[in-house]
């Protein structure tokens, strides 16, 4: 869990919510009682809630789609975005398969010709023979070339289609994810979201790029082959159908077995990787406590387990090819024996040598399309499971954004009425729609009010209770209290990262739920404890706060944040590239950049988490100066860690267990001799 939300992690709110999505629904009275009883019993038996729930949750098979048909349809919709191309592919696949079967069929006349000329005494002239052979071979050449080109054609088109499909899916997924509420990001591991874009998308690619055409072309080949076989000898073919059933059973059994083994292998791989990740991260501690040898043993055990399971999985998969070769030969044997018997018993009427030879060549190509189809089956399942996970995210609702109040730039004329424009002297205003397309403009002042606000990350557990705050324009509101008191949670509410369950929050008298989300957030900025910068230059990162800021404004903001001097000392100044989330800058320098970023945005309302625990005193002094200047002339909510911030605040909120227990300015609170007084004098724990 990220450090941005210590309050969240401490209450385990988000994780608990994730495992119990049903609890969000309104409960009937009876259900409530039942739940209360269950809760009590659990407590009596001392079973933690999570564990009691765990067995009820059915084990999910990672490679099994839940609703294959629906997912397939939807996925197909993506592929079909280029309908014309796809139709062409269909044509080419069928053509290539048919031509290839046809070119095999030419073997028969050639075989027959060659058989005929064996009788030296009674044969056609050399010229005739060569002419006929040339004719057939020419035809064969033509068919082969067409088939090869068609093959290339559809593969090339499918490459394009599959790559485009991936690109579109990735784009749609990303665009959708950008609209998801912050809650989603808080409750998911970043690596899990990443793997939707990587492994799941590439599973889809496997099936689109290769799988579809393989399935189609194998199907066509199989049908054409069977048709040819039926033509040559329906009787033998019927016998072969029996073997077909056998092949299908074998393939299915092996697929199921190997899928099971691979699931085990994946699991073993997972625990091995988790071990590596955890213990390499803790390597320094391991060295200090001389745990190296024990770790070596533990890891060897895990690695060897992985090996054991892996051998099982690979052995079963390795069985498929030899087994299919064997079955092909058995088929061949059956056909040869049966055909030969037919020749003998019928005296060459029901069957002759030439036909049998031709027939045998088909019987060989009978099982390979079946194997191809079977091998694509596993990929298809994986692709559908991947697609399902992707669509699941795409189906998640976006942040609720029903507001219709917009943030606009206005200029006030002599009569006191506003016009929308960004001429010199513009100010921000809320554009509040009235009935019949009328609007009224309210200037953005930064008055923020909390009225009876209650909030919990899930409904069971309230984090903030009945909060009432009135922050007047340009006031500084400080929050103090121990970890878990709900300080960080407050920063999640004004900007509607999370929606409150009870009460109202208003900005300049307008309920924040009535304001368009983008407009609301446009009026406020945040500086968080955990600094996130993006790849790009330093100037780009500062400009993130306001995209149309000029170079001068960027420099100005950097000066406010006290960042200008260190930036100027860098060899490339503002054009210095930030790599790997600012890895080439110190923690303090990154914090200064994030302050500059907020400064360039110049918001009416500012939310500030000023923790500077891991920064040395001198850098801290720099950051403090930057923060102080940033706080001037706006409404500020600050999670205060410094005495000077707290003392200079217009209002101080002392939070405990989600409630404001004391409220007032420094002098009044000291006079109260309550919790604040204790905190101030270092008598009470605060971490």
């Amino acid at each position: 869990m990220s450090n941005t939300t210590p309050d969240v992690s401490e209450n385990n709110a988000v994780t608990a919510q994730e495992t119990a999505p049903t609890e969000k629904k309104k409960l009937t009275f009876k259900q409530k009682i039942l739940r209360a009883i269950a809760k009590k019993m659990r407590k009596m038996m001392d079973i933690p809630e999570g564990e009691a729930k765990a067995p009820a949750k059915p084990k999910e098979n990672k490679n099994k789609p839940k609703n294959a048909k629906k997912t397939f349809k939807r996925l197909f919709g993506y592929v079909m975005k280029s309908k014309a191309l796809f139709a062409l592919v269909l044509l080419l696949v069928i053509g290539a398969a048919l031509f290839s079967v046809a070119s095999t069929a030419i073997n028969e006349p050639i075989v027959n010709l060659c058989q005929k000329v064996l009788d030296v005494n009674n044969r056609m002239s050399r010229g005739d023979f060569i002419q006929q052979i040339a004719l057939w071979l020419g035809l064969m050449m033509g068919l082969s070339i067409v088939s090869a080109l068609a093959n290339y054609g559809y593969s090339r088109i499918m490459l394009q289609i599959s790559q485009r499909t991936m690109r579109i899916i990735r784009k749609d997924l990303f665009d959708h994810i950008q609209g998801l509420p912050v809650k989603y990001f808080d409750s998911q591991k970043k690596g899990d979201i990443m793997s939707r874009f990587t492994s799941d998308v590439s599973a889809i690619n496997n099936i689109v790029n290769e799988g579809m055409t393989t399935l189609l072309s194998s199907g066509v080949t199989l049908i054409a082959t069977v048709a040819m076989m039926l033509y040559y000898s329906p009787k033998i073919t019927l016998i072969l159908f029996a073997s077909l059933i056998f092949i299908v059973i074998v393939v299915l059994v092996i697929s199921v077995l190997s899928a099971k083994q691979f699931a085990k292998y994946q699991k073993a791989m997972g625990s091995c990787n988790a071990y590596i990740e955890e213990y390499i991260r803790g390597q320094r501690v391991i060295k200090l406590f001389s745990y190296e040898e024990k770790n070596k043993q533990d890891f060897a055990a895990l690695a060897n387990n992985l090996r054991r399971v892996g051998i099982g999985a690979n052995t079963i998969t390795g069985l498929l090819m030899p087994l299919m070769t064997f079955i092909t030969q058995v088929n061949y044997a059956i056909c040869a024996l049966f055909g030969a018997t037919m020749i003998i018993t019928s005296g060459g009427t029901a069957m002759n040598a030439g036909r049998l030879v031709a027939y045998l060549s088909y019987s060989k190509s009978f099982s390979s399309p079946i194997t191809s189809i079977a091998s694509q089956f596993t990929s298809l399942m994986q692709a559908l499971a991947g697609a399902e996970r992707i669509f699941e995210i795409m189906d998640m609702p976006h942040e609720i954004d029903e507001g219709n109040v917009k943030l606009v730039k206005v200029v006030k004329d002599e009569n006191g009425s506003y016009t929308e424009c960004d001429d010199y002297g513009w100010v921000y205003a809320w554009k509040v729609p009235l009935i019949e397309g009328e609007y009224v403009y309210t200037e953005v002042k930064g008055q923020v009010e909390f009225e009876n606000v209650s909030f919990g990350y899930n409904e069971d557990k309230t984090v903030l209770k009945d909060i009432n705050i009135v922050a007047r324009p340009n006031e500084k509101i400080a929050f103090v209290g121990s970890t878990g008191a709900g300080k960080t949670t407050i920063t999640n509410l004004v900007n509607r990262f999370y929606d409150i369950q009870e009460g109202t929050i208003t900005v300049d008298g307008i309920d924040i739920k009535a304001i368009e989300k983008d407009s609301l957030r446009g009026a406020l900025s945040m500086v968080l404890q955990d600094v996130n910068l993006f790849s790009g230059t330093i100037a780009d990162n500062i400009r993130y706060g306001r995209l149309d800021a000029t170079d001068e404004e960027v420099v100005e903001a950097a000066k406010i944040a006290n960042a200008h001097s260190f930036i100027s000392r860098l060899p490339k100044g503002y054009q210095t590239e930030i790599t790997g989330d600012g890895g080439n800058l110190s923690q303090g320098q990154r914090q200064l950049l994030s302050i500059a970023r907020a400064a360039v945005a110049d918001p009416a309302i500012l939310i500030l988490d000023e923790a500077t625990s891991s920064i040395d005193t001198r850098t801290e002094a720099l950051i403090e100066k930057g923060m102080d200047r940033l706080m001037e002339n706006r409404t500020v909510f600050v999670i205060a860690h410094r005495l000077s911030t707290v003392r200079n605040s217009d209002q101080i909120m002392v939070l405990e267990h989600g409630e404001i227990i004391e409220q007032g300015n420094h002098e009044t609170l000291i006079a109260q001799e309550g919790k604040y007084y204790q905190l101030y004098n270092g008598l009470y724990e605060l971490d």
Binding site: I276, I280, K287, E292, L306, N532
Partner: protein, 585 residues
Amino acid sequence: MKRYLNFVKGNWIFALLSAVFVLVVVYLEIELPLITAKIIDDIIPNIESMGNLAELRHQILLMLVYSFAILLLGFLAARCAAIASLGFTANMRIAIFNKVQDFSFDNIDKFTTASLITRIINDTNSVQMVFSTFLNFFIKAPLTLIFACIEARRISAELSKVFWFVIPIIVAVFMIMAVIVVPKFRIMLEKTDKFNKTLQENFLGIRVVKSFVRENKEKDKFNEANNGLYHATMAAQKIMMLNLPILMLVLFGCMIYTLWNGSIQIYDFAGQEGALEIGTLTAFTSYISSVITSLMTFTMIFITMVMARASIKRVNEVLDEKPSVTDENADKSLKVTDGSIEFRNVSFKYSSEAEKNVLENINISIKSGEIVGVIGATGSAKTTLVSLIPRLYEATGGEVLVSGRNVKDYTFENLREGVSMVLQNNVLFSGTIKENLLWGNRGASDEMIEEACKIAQAHEFISEFADGYETKLEQGGVNVSGGQKQRLCIARALLRAPKVLIFDDSTSAVDTATDTKIRDGLASYLPDTTKIIIAQRINSVKHADKIIILDDGKIVGVGTHDELLENSEIYKEIYISQQKGALAQ
């Protein structure tokens, strides 16, 4: 290369067996078409005149025996190959993991933790891919090629001349293809990295994105990365795809050429001894496709190796790394007997190429049982200084002595048994609280654990947990707060009951009141243990017997709080700034 052969150790027999089995399988697979040829050429055309199936049965039985042998040996080959290749991977993983276990802090710093993790997890996987492709195809492909050529030559020396043309043509085509395609694949890998980075930054910074309403900017950024990946992939795959028609056309060309010449031979030599027959001609054509497929396999292996080359390089870098600090020359019986410490003219720099020393001319003498504070700005090398005591880093000049002996004389285990340290970025492991505490002392009793936790001010909050000391910690200890984590780490170090105990800013997330309690507890607990405390807050070290002030790698002041307030400008400056500094002091 030699190293990778070593990883096969213990599984050589399986690798060899697999090769032998493959050899037999390939031989049988090459022979099989000849039986078919016999059936087609000799038996079926004459079946009517023979009037019985005896000869046919005989050949078919032979064919089935061959195919059953292929099945059995093929299966055994697959199994042996699996044992060898997975054994190889397991050995490689264990080797690289063990190597990292022997790394000193330097080595870890050099690679960074994140990169070590990717190397052990992802790069070893890529190397495994190469090895198993190698094992599965590298033996089979050349064997098939050789056997098919020999057999084809036996059928018809005349016809097999076609191979002299085909093989060089295909090899040339693939070589050219590889030369063009490899750089394109590299670009693709780069674009993939960029794509992943864009995603990662977005997910980590989602609060920033949303609070500045930059979703559209992010979408544009993503689009650019997404399109870049698309175009790079297309560029590489488009060329790869050309393989297909070229291969097919070459194959068909050969087939038709062979059939043409073959049929003419059949006509011309019909009835002569050893003349070519149609069945054998068909067998011959099947060898052509064997030869071409095995050539294709070579390219596949080649491409896999190129793709994995970067991974192999990264794995090699780890395996080639020499632990910068070793205890090979240590006296195994030597143990730390008291807590006295001495630095004699110690200097240190992180890399030999660095111009400037991080620590310069350090001379300190600490008596056993003293409490010593270390203060200084970030970058003044406080952590570096104390890291030299448990030999996490090696002094580049001068000597560090613990209980009168150079730290180099102790084994790591004995030295670190006597010198324990609570690190700045401390780590707890998944498992119960108790299991984590037992790291300090595997034989600690419950009473000992509780006592240590009381001193570290951890007992109280642990008791508040429903499961107390049996509470499960998640990976990285994310379910306890920063301050709680630090206190658990302190308790873990206390349980070692070391002669020297170092706290590297280890109460930064603990409030002042608790900090004071911990300090008071420590004063009486383990009275003979030397305690070194690095702190940001002067309050944390005010009562120490001795305070060392570091500035830019040099000692600029040593003394008690009162002495330093009088003599040291820097100390005074820090003290005053802190007095008006943080809340609750």
